[in-house]
């Protein structure tokens, strides 16, 4: 038998590491998410052409690209387990909360990676001018956290359905709408060059949304995960 036992966080991280390793070898979600983001940005870039966008339109377009790109990839975290028929193996060996946390860490890492690609491209193609860069980074990181908290549990729910992709976007949209509105507002403030104190209320909403969604997801995941 093994020499020592691993803690719950080590168990959740081992699921995260397995998913990262798997993803780097299969590019199951990565290709979809990056291709979607690049194509959408290119289409928006060509459509806008020489026109300069207002800060409100820029920030809205930015989060529209993030939302739809994430919709194309974040659901894969559970869908690939269902399609590869490894879901029973995972159910057999891991506790539901550790599975949720592992998948949640993976989705967050995937979304942050996507944003590393989208942000410079958006600045380059659409001339996004970030006057308060650090406020923008805070909105981006906390907005992604909230987005991942909500979409990971929805991904688990839709993984058993037949029309997974469409259902994922349809179920996610009403839950994510308040988050997206706050993210757009926070990004708008950062483009306008407003001070950090003016963006604090948005950041507080983003943190609250993430905490509530994370707790709800951990409570509900056991029910969703059971057949």
């Amino acid at each position: 038998m093994g020499t020592k036992s691993s803690t719950w966080i080590e168990q959740a991280l081992s699921i995260f590491q397995k998913d990262i390793k798997s993803e780097l070898r299969t590019r199951y979600a990565l290709n979809a998410i990056v291709m979607f983001a690049v194509v959408t940005l290119a289409v928006v870039g060509f459509s806008v052409g020489q026109f300069s966008l207002s800060p409100k339109v820029s920030s809205s377009l930015f989060w529209v690209v993030i939302f739809f790109s994430s919709m194309s990839g974040l659901a894969q975290v559970f869908i690939k387990e269902e399609e590869a028929k490894t879901v029973n193996l995972l159910k057999l060996v891991a506790s539901p909360s550790n599975i949720f946390l592992g998948k949640f860490f993976f989705n967050w890492a995937l979304l942050l990676f996507l944003e590393i690609i989208i942000v410079p491209l958006f600045i380059l193609l659409l001339g996004l001018n970030l006057e308060n860069f650090w406020l923008f980074i805070c909105v981006l990181v906390l907005g992604s956290l909230g987005l991942v908290c909500a979409t990971t549990i929805i991904a688990a729910m839709v993984s058993k359905a037949h029309i997974k992709g469409a259902l994922f976007a349809v179920l996610s949209f009403p839950i994510l709408l308040p988050l997206l509105i706050v993210c757009i507002d926070g990004t708008y403030l950062s483009i306008q060059g407003k001070s950090f104190s003016e963006g604090v209320s948005d950041l507080k909403v983003l943190v609250s949304f993430s905490v509530v969604m994370l707790i709800l997801s951990l409570l509900l995941f056991d029910l969703v995960w059971k057949e």
Binding site: T3, S14, K18, A84, L89, V93
Partner: protein, 196 residues
């Protein structure tokens, strides 16, 4: 215990008990519910009526405790194809809360007849090799309860001899429950549950 999928009855009024050092064989024609029964026993699905009770020295065991002492080998329990044999076992042991040294895992892979194949991706394995690796996984935690669904599927002569050894060892260690259609595997059971 009963199980229904919607209005369709899989089995009804099932009642049996197995004690330590005993083996039970579940038999029945295709679609009689052998795999479903094993899934219920392993906790993957719930029965429609009734319950499965695990008892140790008079104490009822919780599902999480049962998870640590139970293993399952089944055709629809796939391993991760994009990971190597060693990576699969490493991940599956860690996620169960057990930390193994690489050398120990390699020895276990060697024991199931996959010597020098530990770094190969599972996707390159034949179905027989995958079945052998499933045994390496199932025996990692020295299970008190071992559930086997069609245990000899895809195994060659050498593999079947290994399986016989697993069955013999498991009877000494704890409980063996086996679902099969093969007449020559029914002999492994001290009790038989016929779902027909």
């Amino acid at each position: 215990m009963s199980k229904y999928f919607g209005a369709r009855k899989v089995f009804k009024g099932l009642n049996f008990s197995v004690t330590e050092h005993q083996s039970l064989v579940i038999t029945g024609k295709n679609g009689s519910g052998k795999t479903t029964l094993l899934k219920i026993l392993s906790g993957l699905i719930s029965p429609s009526n009734g319950e499965v009770v695990f008892n140790s020295n008079g104490d009822l065991l919780k599902r999480e405790e049962v998870k640590r002492i139970l293993s399952l080998v089944a055709p629809d329990l796939n391993l991760y194809e994009e990971l190597s044999a060693l990576e699969n076992l490493k991940f599956l042991s860690r996620v169960q809360g057990i930390m193994f040294e690489n050398e120990e895992l390699k020895t276990r892979i060697e024991k199931v007849g996959l010597k020098k194949r530990e770094d190969d991706l599972v996707s390159f394995f034949s179905s027989g090799m995958k079945q052998r690796l499933k045994y390496a996984f199932a025996l990692m935690n020295d299970p008190k309860i071992l559930l086997l669904d069609e245990p000899s599927s895809n195994l060659d002569k050498e593999g079947i001899s290994y399986l016989e050894n697993v069955i013999y060892e498991q009877k000494k260690r704890g409980i063996l429950i086996l679902a099969t259609n093969h007449k020559d595997e029914i002999r492994y059971g001290d009790q038989i549950v016929d779902l027909d």
